[in-house]
Symmetry: C2
Subunit: 190 residues, 2 copies
């Protein structure tokens, strides 16, 4: 192995998740992760602030990605069309092919209250980024907030359904989930 | 003051929130709170696990309250009607008359990441309780999950709007927010 480890981040991530599954998140230390990956702790801390961040790596880029996608969407598109287009792009560009890894990741997150809170925080940050993207597009505050929340709901519930089954792409399932949300909300109330 | 302090919980809560506002949440200690309230730390810990719980007291009863309300709703009511009825009951029974306190509470929560995460966690627990209530009513899993999320969105966004303005009851604003969510979701997407 040379001085540069172009695949170091992926190797550390795989080693960490394997250890979290084998022996528990709380019980796993950074030296154990780096020993398993055959790398140094110094390399670990070049890539991750701590072991928790291994499970959330890349997600800090989501808000900027959302902002760019929303700025690039044709001005004629209404909020729900923007949501639908954005969710499909993220589903296909970021998650497709990751179902097995995402299942393992979920099983780890479910074991730890701090990880579950971090996961909720991520969805909340995503909602804020979408809301701001709508405000930039000139959408009113209430519509921006509600369309963002609806998008995050479709995305969060869609991911859960995708991980619970073997068929269907995430993009299809998220679309189906958004359609189901529309149907539920369309029910007359009185 | 007698041996029993029937209003101890309220006095401790008020003293704590006043101190959080005056000097910051992190800087406030339990002995400072009890000194302000004229009570002992022993009394404090009979009512609260820690200073954080002062801001969330009573909310541990929400899931059971939700379960009861949903079990009591007429079987003929569809999911959105159940949501609407439940939100109105909670708005009127729990929050009406609390706008000033809730504004102060929000200003404290916004200053601390741990408190913000706890607040998100509470909404997530509420969503789970509503979903379970729907499953008990024989609603399918996807509809139960999505109706619960829609209800929590309307409630969370409604509370924010209620705190941001001086007019209107929470029940009216939550109803208006749910209507707005329905309108946003009804937009044709293609």
């Amino acid at each position: 192995m040379g001085r540069w480890e172009p695949d170091a981040r992926d190797r550390l991530k795989r080693a960490a998740v394997d250890l979290f599954v084998e022996q528990g998140f709380a019980e796993t230390t950074v030296p154990q992760i780096t020993a398993r990956a055959g790398l140094t702790t110094r390399t670990f801390f070049r890539h991750f602030a701590d072991k928790r961040e291994v499970l959330f790596v890349g997600e800090e880029e989501f808000p900027a990605l959302v902002a760019k996608m929303m700025a690039d969407a044709p001005p004629s598109l209404g909020p729900m069309a923007v949501i639908l287009h954005g969710l499909r792009t993220i589903a296909e560009g970021v998650f497709e092919g990751q179902r097995e890894y995402m299942r393992t990741r979920r099983s780890v997150i479910q074991t730890d209250a701090g990880l579950r809170e971090r996961e909720l925080w991520k969805l909340s940050a995503l909602s804020k980024a979408i809301r701001e993207g709508f405000l930039e597009r000139g959408v009113d505050d209430l519509t921006a907030t509600l369309a963002a929340q609806a998008g995050v709901t479709a995305f969060g519930v869609g991911i859960t359904r995708w991980l619970d089954q073997d068929d269907g792409s995430l993009a299809e399932i998220v679309r189906d989930t958004l359609d189901a949300l529309r149907t539920v909300l369309a029910e007359p109330v009185e």
